[in-house]
Symmetry: C2
Subunit: 400 residues, 2 copies
C-alpha cells in the first residue's frame, strides 16, 4: 500500500530537528484548550449518561442539524439532518460510499494527483482508479468528458468521480466555479456519482467560502465534510450529505462497520459549536494558515531553481511543487531527511506511478519561520541534486 | 437487514412508560461522572495538542500497553502491544477481520443464536453464516466437529468461527473450560480461525474472570475486547489482539476505513484507567448487574408458565427465554409493547429463521424493581397469548 511509504516517512519526520513539510496535521495547538476542556467537563457533568452511552448509527440529531448550518456557509441551504450521516472522519464516509457503490473492477475517476488515502480505500475494494488531468483551475472538464467517452467505449463501468474541488489535497488547487457546473453535468450525463470531499472549504484566505458543488446539484453530488481541519481531528467527526436512498444505505453500512459513532466526541463538537465562538476560531485559523502559506510562497520564489514550478493555493494546507525534469523526488528524500527537511514524494498521490518529479509540501503545521527554514533546506538539497544530475546524467546528443 | 427490526423496536421501547428488556445498553449512570469529567478536562489541559490531533491507525501505544494489562486479568499473559489494534468498539474489529478474511460465499460458523450485528457484518461481506448448536455449557464441540466435517464434504470454504464464549449475547451462556480446548482444537485441525469476542468477560458474578480461549491458543485465536461494557460505550474503544501478520493487515484495513481512531477517546480511557479506581468500578458494575440478574431470575421463576425455559447466566447482560411451543415471539411483540414491556424476538439472532418461540431479555439497564415489573408484564402477555393459542390453535387428533 502506498500509505506505508508515508507512514515510514512520518516516523522519521516527527523528530524535532527536522522541519516537516510532509504532514497534513492541523495546528490544533492554536485551539483554546481551556475552552475545550470546559466544554467536555460540562458535557459529562450535565449529560454524561447520554454522552457515555451508545448512540444511533446515523449520528446525533442535534449535531446533524448543526452540520446543516455549517454547510449553509458554503451555499448548501437545502440540507436536511435526515440526509446527514455522521462518520469517523470523512475518511469513513468515503470508505462506506465505496463499500456501497463499488464492485471489483469498477472505475473511480479522481484528479491526478489525488488524496493518498482515497487511493488506498479504492484499492481495498478493488476499484480501478483512473486519473483525470488538472491544471491551475482544477480538474479539466474537457479531459473529463474525453475520459468518460474513452472508458464508455472500452466498456468500463465508471461508478464515481472522487474530487476535492476546493484547496485540493495534495495540489492546493481550486476548481473554478464555471468548471464546477461542467464537471457535474458531464458526470450526470454519464450516470456517474460525484463525491465532493471538502475538508478545507472553510479555510479560504480570500474572503467568503467558495460555493460547494453540492449546492447546485443535490441529486448528483454526495458531499463529504469534516471538523478535522476546522476544529480538531482527534474528535474524528466527519459526515456525508447524500440523497435519501444513499444516506439510508450509508446508515446501514455504518451500523455494520462500527455500530455507532462516539456520542462523547459528537456531543463535544456539538456543544463546542453551540457555546464557543467558533466563527472567530475559524478566522484565526485562516489568518494563521495564510501567514504560513505566504511564508512558503515567498521563500519558494527566493530559493527555488528557475525550472521548478509550484501552485498558489487560496486556502487549505498544501502546495504542489514540480521539480526540474529528471529529478526523482523519492530518491532525493533520504538526502532531504539528512538535510533535516521532509516532504511527501509525488508518486504517492497517483495510482499509476506518475508524479516522480513532484512533491507535496504543506505549510499547515510549522510556524512561518520554520516553514521558511524548511523551504531553504529543501532548495539546497534540490540544488545539490541538480548538480549531481548534471554531472552524472547521460548527455543528450546535442550536448557538448 | 435484521437490525432494522431491532432499530424500529428500540425507537418505541425508549418511551419512559415501557420497561425495556430489549436493549443491551450498560448502566453508564453508575459511573462517577465527576471523575470522568475531571479526567477529560485534565487530559485536554495537559495534553490537548496530542489528544485533539490525528493518531496512528494502530492506536495509541500507551493505551495498547494498558489493554494488555486488562487482558492479563483473563489469563492472557503473553500479549504484546504491537499485536493489539485499537478499534471503534469491537464491532469495528469484527468488520475489519471480516473484510480481511472473507470472500463472498465463504462460511462463518457461529453459535445459534448469536450476536445480531455480527450476522449483519457477515452478510455485508456476503459470507454464509452456519450456526452450530449450543446448550447450557455453550457451543457443542461434537456438533462443531460434525458441522466442520459436513461442510468439508460439501466443499464449502469455512474461514472462521465467531464465538462469544463468555456470558454470550444473546443467550447468557458460557462455554465451559474443557469445551474451550475442544473447540479450539477442532478449528485448528480444520484450518479455521477462531474469533473470540469477549465484551462481557470481566462482568462475572462468581468471582474471578474465566480464562480466555486466547490464553491457551495464541496462534489460533483472534481476541476481541471492548471497554463498552466495563467503562462506557460512548468512547467506542475496543480492540483486537491478533497474531502479528493478522494484526498488520488489520492496521492497514483500519487506516483505509477511518484513517485513525479518536485520540481524544483513546487517551480519555487510558487516563481514566491510570488515575481512577477502575477495578472498584468493575466490582460495583458486577454487583449491580448481579442484583438485576437475580431480580430477573426470581421473577421468571415466580411468573412464567410451566413449559417455558430460560438460561441462568453467571455474568453479562442477557437471559434467553424459550417460550412454550407454538408461541410466535415476533407476532406477540406488539401486544407486549401495548402492555408496556419490550424484548427482542429470537429470530433476529439467527441467520436461518430459527428462534421463533424464543426471546432475549436483558437485565443490564433497568433497576431491579423495573426488571421485576417488566418480567411480570411479560408473563401476563404470555399467558394471554397461550390462552389465545389454546382457543384458536387447530386441535390435535388426541384432544377432546
Amino acid at each position: 500500500m502506498l500509505a506505508s511509504e508515508v507512514r515510514a516517512l512520518f516516523a522519521v519526520a516527527s523528530r524535532p530537528e527536522i522541519v516537516s513539510l510532509a504532514g497534513g496535521m492541523p495546528a490544533v495547538d492554536a485551539l483554546p484548550l481551556e475552552a475545550v476542556a470546559a466544554t467536555t467537563s460540562d458535557l459529562i457533568t450535565r449529560r454524561g449518561a447520554v454522552a457515555l452511552q451508545y448512540g444511533s448509527a446515523q449520528g446525533d440529531p442535534q449535531l446533524r442539524a448543526r452540520i446543516c448550518d455549517v454547510m449553509a456557509m458554503e451555499g448548501i441551504t437545502d440540507a436536511h439532518p435526515d440526509n446527514v450521516v455522521v462518520t469517523v472522519g470523512s475518511q469513513q464516509a468515503l470508505d462506506l460510499l465505496t463499500r456501497v457503490f463499488i464492485d471489483p473492477g469498477d472505475v473511480v475517476l479522481t484528479e491526478g494527483p489525488t488524496y493518498v488515502t482515497a487511493i488506498n480505500t479504492f484499492a481495498a475494494y478493488q476499484a480501478r482508479v483512473v486519473h483525470v488531468p488538472m491544471d491551475a483551475d482544477g480538474l479539466n472538464p474537457e479531459a473529463l468528458r474525453e475520459t468518460l467517452a474513452r472508458l464508455a467505449a472500452e466498456g468500463s463501468r465508471v461508478k464515481m468521480l472522487y474530487t476535492v474541488p476546493t484547496f485540493q489535497n495534495p495540489s492546493g488547487v481550486t476548481l473554478t466555479v464555471p468548471r464546477r457546473g461542467e464537471v457535474v453535468e458531464a458526470c450526470r450525463r454519464a450516470g456517474v456519482l460525484v463525491v465532493e470531499d471538502n475538508p478545507y472549504g472553510l479555510l479560504s484566505f480570500n474572503g467568503d467560502p467558495i460555493r460547494a458543488m453540492r449546492a447546485d446539484a443535490p441529486d448528483d453530488v454526495v458531499y463529504l465534510g469534516s471538523f478535522s481541519k476546522t476544529l480538531a481531528p482527534g474528535m474524528r467527526v466527519g459526515w456525508a450529505l447524500a440523497p435519501p436512498p444513499v444516506a439510508a444505505r450509508l446508515v446501514l453500512a455504518a451500523e455494520s462497520a462500527i455500530l455507532s459513532h462516539s456520542m462523547f466526541t459528537q456531543l463535544t463538537v456539538e456543544q463546542y459549536l453551540a457555546t464557543q465562538p467558533w466563527p472567530e476560531q475559524l478566522k484565526a485559523f485562516r489568518e494563521m494558515y495564510r501567514e504560513r502559506r505566504d511564508a512558503m510562497l515567498e521563500t519558494l520564489a527566493e530559493t527555488m531553481p528557475a525550472d521548478s514550478t509550484w501552485t498558489r493555493p487560496d486556502g487549505g494546507f498544501f502546495i504542489w511543487l514540480t521539480l526540474p525534469e529528471g529529478v526523482d523526488a523519492k530518491a532525493m528524500l533520504p538526502r532531504a531527511i539528512a538535510a533535516r527537511v521532509a516532504y511527501v514524494p509525488g508518486t504517492g498521490f497517483y495510482a499509476d506511478g506518475s508524479g516522480r518529479n513532484a512533491i507535496r509540501i504543506s505549510y499547515c503545521y510549522p510556524p512561518p519561520d520554520r516553514v521558511r527554514e524548511g523551504v531553504r533546506r529543501l532548495a539546497r538539497v534540490l540544488r545539490a541534486e541538480l548538480d549531481l544530475r548534471d554531472t552524472f546524467a547521460p548527455r543528450r546528443p546535442n550536448d557538448q
